[in-house]
């Protein structure tokens, strides 16, 4: 059920720590879970040519991105014996120090939860049409590229 339902991944602005706590609390009734693996992406105050990043403004080809997220979920559930998986990604402005990506996988056993979490993170970075405008403290900007 958790697997089939297409889920909304994008959230407006930063992902608050309370959302992460709520997600964890919501899994305490699932007593077949033995391990959760969580990945959080946080905005770094990178210094580039003497200017410091103060925020990233995320945009996306939303319809395609939601479909790609769904395909990644389907592939992950086929590949890994996970109980559930949740992904949230920010749209709009996220300031340095705030969370822009939250990946949460659960399984009976730790190795499966961890591998699945890594899989999600790599697939999201490589395949989801999300774009990031790095905004500097002086209001200039440049476009971020994933390595």
């Amino acid at each position: 059920m958790d697997k089939k339902k297409p889920k909304k991944v994008f959230v407006q602005g930063a992902i608050p720590p309370e959302k992460i706590a709520n997600s964890i609390a919501n899994h305490q009734s699932k007593t077949n879970i033995g391990a959760h693996s969580i990945f959080l992406g946080q905005i770094r105050a990178d210094e580039i040519d003497g200017k410091t990043v103060s925020a990233i403004d995320y945009s996306a080809y939303e319809e395609m991105a939601e479909n790609v997220f769904h395909e990644i979920r389907e592939a992950a559930f086929a590949k890994f014996d996970i109980t559930c998986a949740h992904i949230y990604h920010s749209l709009g402005e996220v300031k340095t120090g705030e969370i822009c990506l939250f990946v949460f996988t659960s399984s009976a056993h730790r190795k499966i939860a961890i591998e699945a979490c890594n899989y999600f993170v790599e697939e999201i970075k490589a395949n989801v049409p999300i774009f990031g405008k790095e905004i500097f403290e002086d209001e200039t900007h440049q476009w971020k590229v994933n390595k």
């Binding site: 992406g41 990233i56 995320y58 945009s59 996306a60 080809y61 319809e63 395609m64 991105a65 479909n67 990604h89 822009c100 990506l101 993170v121 999201i124 970075k125 490589a126 395949n127 989801v128 049409p129 999300i130 774009f131 990031g132 405008k133 476009w143 971020k144 590229v145 994933n146």
Partner: protein, 78 residues
């Protein structure tokens, strides 16, 4: 025939718009459309730009009336 063209990230910035409806000759391929728009908007580093035709990244296709063609700069999610 008409196709809807969408621009994202730095390409939207260069084009000064996020979407336009273009009239193209019947038989135009996605790659031909890409070349044309790359010149028109002076898009740098065109190899880094991916096209999605109706959300499909395989762009070695001929376009059809009503297609949605998205110009995607390098991804930066996560």
């Amino acid at each position: 025939m008409k196709v809807t063209v969408k621009y994202f990230g730095m390409i939207a910035e260069l084009a000064g718009k996020t979407e336009e409806l273009l009239e193209v000759p019947s038989g135009t391929s996605a790659i031909e459309l890409k070349d044309r728009q790359v010149r028109r908007y002076q898009i740098q580093d065109p190899e880094s730009v991916q096209l999605a035709v109706n959300q499909n990244l395989d762009n070695k296709v001929e376009l059809n009336e009503g297609d949605e063609v998205a110009f995607l700069p390098p991804f930066a999610g996560g």
